[in-house]
Symmetry: C3
Subunit: 325 residues, 3 copies
């Protein structure tokens, strides 16, 4: 195992058993430490080509009531790499599940699936669904994104990537750029960065600023937070550049989207002015907000970051089901 991570103690592992993972706000600094160390432990096991059987005989329900291929495949691979099995509901945007179509509540549907599976991963376009599912299920529920609400596992893999690459999160200067208003990923991420006491630079078009209550809450905790609409200012001094996509589907009209989408493009020219060792992250998919030329930059880690999701999700599945051996 990399010297950065060490396998958690049995008491730490036990503290996670039967917990749900619904929201970034539920997780303490010690929780994060346990998750990161478990993720590092599994990454090491896979790097050594070990065949892991920690979840042999167990079943994960992968319930995606909204298309999200990347997140779904990441969770499913995580379960399979742990030696477990997967049952899947992968709805398209235009189709409904049979039960929902027949008028069944989420509560009833989850009560049934809870009898099949040992752990439930759920994605739903309606905010709050993960909590409803957690109330219905006796087994652990992991939120894989619910509407405008939470997507905690994305923020966890962001933190894992930072620790792997920079050795720690504490004391880093993190620039978050792009769409800070609608992006649920950055809302979860700043919660974690706050726990580690990071300085944050928030760079966005004026229309897409971080919500005021979040900025206020960060400042109230004594954190240094700077807001700007100038991308260059954000990059110059950052240790981590976190780029988010200006998502078409978050805008009321195509016109609103077109106005801002090209203002925050990260290209080679911009990166040339960055600090040595700066890493560039992105939750993906990207459209054109990072140019393809940047992919060759040694700090361009967004694909590696996506791969890290696998280890973090392995950690969450094994921790919540008490399966880490």
């Amino acid at each position: 195992m990399s010297t950065v991570f060490k396998k958690p103690s049995q008491a730490q592992l036990d503290s996670f058993k039967n917990r749900d993972v619904l929201s970034a706000a539920d997780l303490t600094k010690e929780d994060l430490e346990i998750i990161m160390n478990t993720a590092g432990y599994y990454e090491q096991q896979l790097a050594e080509n070990k065949i892991i059987k920690d979840m042999e005989g167990k079943v994960m329900a992968s319930l995606f009531y909204e298309p999200s291929t990347r997140t779904r495949l990441s969770f499913e691979t995580a379960m399979l790499r742990l030696g477990g099995s997967v049952i899947t509901v992968a709805e398209s945007a235009t189709n409904q599940t049979s039960s929902t179509a027949k008028g069944e509540t989420i509560h009833d549907g989850i009560c049934v699936i809870d009898g099949y599976a040992d752990v439930i991963v759920i994605r739903n376009p309606v905010t709050g669904t993960a909590q409803v599912a957690a109330n219905a299920a006796e087994h652990p529920v992991i939120n894989a994104g619910d509407g405008a609400g939470q997507h905690p596992t994305q923020a966890l893999l962001d933190i894992y990537t930072i620790i792997k690459e920079k050795g720690k999160v504490e004391g880093l200067k993190v620039a978050l750029v792009g769409d800070l208003k609608y992006g649920r990923t950055v809302h979860s991420l700043v919660e974690f960065l706050a726990i580690y006491g990071c300085e944050m630079i928030l760079a966005s078009p004026d229309e897409l600023k971080m919500p005021e209550d979040i900025v206020k809450s960060l400042k109230d905790r004594g954190l240094k937070v700077t807001e700007t609409n100038n991308l260059k200012d954000a990059v110059v001094d950052a240790d981590v550049l976190y780029v988010t996509r200006v998502q078409r589907e978050r805008f009321p009209s195509l016109e609103d989207y077109e106005k801002v989408k090209d203002l925050f493009i990260v290209d080679e020219d911009l990166i040339s002015g960055a600090k040595d060792g700066m890493i560039i992250l992105h939750p993906l998919p990207r459209v054109n907000e990072i140019t393809v030329g940047v992919d060759k930059h040694p700090g361009a880690l967004y694909f590696k970051q996506a791969h890290n999701g696998l280890y973090v999700r392995m950690a969450l599945l094994a921790l919540t089901t008490g399966s880490v051996r």
Copy 2:
């Protein structure tokens, strides 16, 4: 293992090898006993946290040409819990499979899949499809519902639940309520109840009475069968209350549906007049025909009943493929 169930003899197990499970009418009392005992055997194995490998290396084809998430996930979990693997076709209502779209017959499609899989589970909106599939396949075929035809595995899990909870089926008074005309589940279930000599109370709105030929056939076998349109009369003396959904999709018009859907609501008030120890079953999904308040009643077993489907389907998969170890 619960004292109610005991593992079948090798001769009993062998009697099921390579059989199809297409219709309730194909199953004798001894068949039922073998299925129930095998289901009980597997439930016990899982309760002891044993990792079962009876179907290791085997593949189940899960062919759902009509959406039925609950039944599909139940079968798939059953196969995975037996140590086997699953290949899936999960069609939405609006999409066709590629081969069907290209004009291929069910017969040809099954001939191909028969070369991949060790057992085939099929659901199709067209009545009789399971029989066509069974004719085409050399491997066992299990009917997971074909149109207005059969859905034998649902009725099997109903019987399993009754045996588990009441110790036996013989001599029980079973009230079947709701939509007795269109519900294929109750049509399969009364076949089994007849085998066990149960008294049956059939309570439905007049528009949704049990088909006359079925009632006649039950009476011809000397069974006591009462028909009523008064829900209270049905409940007062029953050991088992079997509630079915008034399914919107079975009605010619929305108006016809609206007229009857609220007449047969099972609520706390109704249940308060029931016999001690009465159990309440429902094939699910429920909409509003059982109020949420009833869920807390000790006899409200419909979610447990759905979970029992797992053990019954494990039994069918392992029995038909000769895999019980």
Copy 3:
């Protein structure tokens, strides 16, 4: 193992490690020999009821961005029979993946999935997609059909079937009939038949002749190639009759399709004039181009041919990932 096939040497096995399988043109005669022998090796293992674990702990990404149930299930079964696991994207014709819908490139999507999976199987309606995927991925990519381009694994299973049934391919007279213009399967297959020096009889309606450049290329290599629009002439002297479907979706109009679709029907009468031991192949699905009466003919091997796809795909998955034990 059948005496026809023998397990390849370690050096032969090693020669395939980390290779992509994108096009029939990439494969040499020695490559074909290695694939066929490996397929034969796995068929033998399964025939002996061995539980194979050559790919235990490994994950295959099954990316079907166009419906093709038969090919998808064949690849997935192959991976499962090797002891591996599968993650699946099975798009319907009318739905897009979430990432594609959000504007992501195939390159980026594959870069992410490359971090989850050990081998990638891809089908896409756009010609050339498999090559784009192979450029993006570090892991092996297998082309399961890309638009009007290649579908090499179908042609490989055709060759495997011929070797199994006739003992060899060299020196055989092969009649290819039906739609030779649009069928990508026959275009890949003639490449392989050319490698083995087969004589070819090309029988099609005039509107659906084999493209001239392909015929010329075959003749330039010194092969005997005859073209005809008379089905009977083609059958009379053939060792192998390869029938293809006149595919509705390849025609500009329904009218063009209707004009030719019944001209090349293979029926019992036609077959009665064939050489003893002639085998009949078809890539399936068939509609009416082979009558159901022909299915009973001892040479009617199209369903067996489809089953052979399993062994060939097992071979490709295990060879490219260096997993043959």
